[in-house]
Symmetry: D2
Subunit: 143 residues, 4 copies
């Protein structure tokens, strides 16, 4: 992730979200804890996915299994400044796709995250529905 | 990680730890939350590292930066059953090394985790001290 | 709570539970965080309640609303030592009852907690079933 | 707390704060977890206290021990709607004072919290400094 220079620039992510930090996100080292950082990435993922299908389309909201998460930690985060989370959709496969996330604080990129989500049907992994695929394709990383 | 069959067998890890699950580790899906699972891996890492230098050697306990974390989620975890965490040391570099972790519940491997830790000196990343390197080399994955 | 000397002695609680502490339970002050302490009390409450109705009786497990929680903080808690949680049932009313909890670490009482639980029926608060009442009456504080 | 009708009205609190909810604040019951609710009250307390002494006065920021926390749970909270936290200072004693908090979501009061904070000097509880007392007196509950 960190080898891709596009990932370090907030404006390259087609969707973004500001998240508050909390005192409890710090650990004894007085910085944002590594696991708390994955918590922010989770929050961005869930809000993005909910936002894909709203109103009447809400019933069509798909369910996912998280198959893989990888995080590069690039700098320390602090409290109480908010975070800016950038979100893009990377490679889209038959039944899974990759989310590309960046975390920024006070203009600095402090972490990158890739997540592989598998579409879950009633009997396990299932092909991505066309409506979902079309929506995901609208969010590529730019730059 | 998951492609390495040795990683799926608890007995292959040279150090292990039983951890209690908590009600709060579940999310609305009634399983152990993905981020909670990274929390357990953090706990194993810290207890392993603290255990390397105890008693009088405690002052020599090194400080690390977590540079990278990757998790493969292989199965659902449940509450209130405890978890068994397996821990091994993989590739050891000049100033960093890789931790290889496995999570087991009721005999099933439910997640694998690799973490890259960078030794932190007073001015940033620093070569691993010989005493630390020798201790780490005593914990290879078997199988 | 803290004015009652019986509450400060672990052996006076008719049910108890040992809980592991986690690195993440500490805050920047390097002690067990106050909210983390209420998390441990929650865990004790849930495990006690689940234990009341096991096996075939599991289906009869009642549902509660937490109406009130009060905590007296008496001393600092530390990591990685485990905690001993003591549990008793106090006043039992028509549709609610009071749980009396104590938290001990290395022999010291570090916190006390009282919780009021309301039995929840299909249409809101409901009288405690006789089977539940009988089981609760078996757990008075002693001393 | 809940018997005081002033506490149920957000506008009666002289200081307030909007806080985001997170997916992780929910538990298996799909509502904001009781302990997560105390986490929000903690966050309000810390941000209020930090705000009392800013800029050059930051060095004078006092340290507290949390001696007592009590919460009345009045209604369910949900995700992803934000919360409004109201904050007031109640009785001010010689070395401690009481914080009065209310939590509101979508116009409903869902929880109330009282906290007793003890001013901590170098050797334990210490009289409140005059500068602190004066600032605290500026935040009474109204109504």
């Amino acid at each position: 992730m960190k080898a891709d220079p596009r990932r370090h620039i907030a404006a390259n992510y087609p969707w973004s979200l500001e998240l508050q930090t909390r005192f409890a996100d710090m650990d004894v080292n007085r910085h944002l804890n590594n696991v708390a950082i994955t918590r922010f990435f989770e929050e961005a993922r869930i809000r993005f996915n909910w936002g894909l299908f709203t109103g009447d389309a809400r019933e069509a909201r798909p369910r996912y299994l998280v198959a893989h998460v990888a995080v590069d930690y690039l700098g320390e985060g602090s409290y109480p400044e908010p975070l800016l989370l950038g979100y893009a959709i990377g490679n889209i496969g038959r039944s899974s796709f990759r989310c590309q996330k960046g975390m920024f604080q006070s203009g600095r990129c402090i972490a990158l995250c890739d997540t592989v989500l598998v579409h879950r049907g009633p009997d396990g992994p299932a092909p991505l529905p066309d409506a979902l695929r079309a929506r995901l394709e609208a969010f590529p990383l730019s730059g």
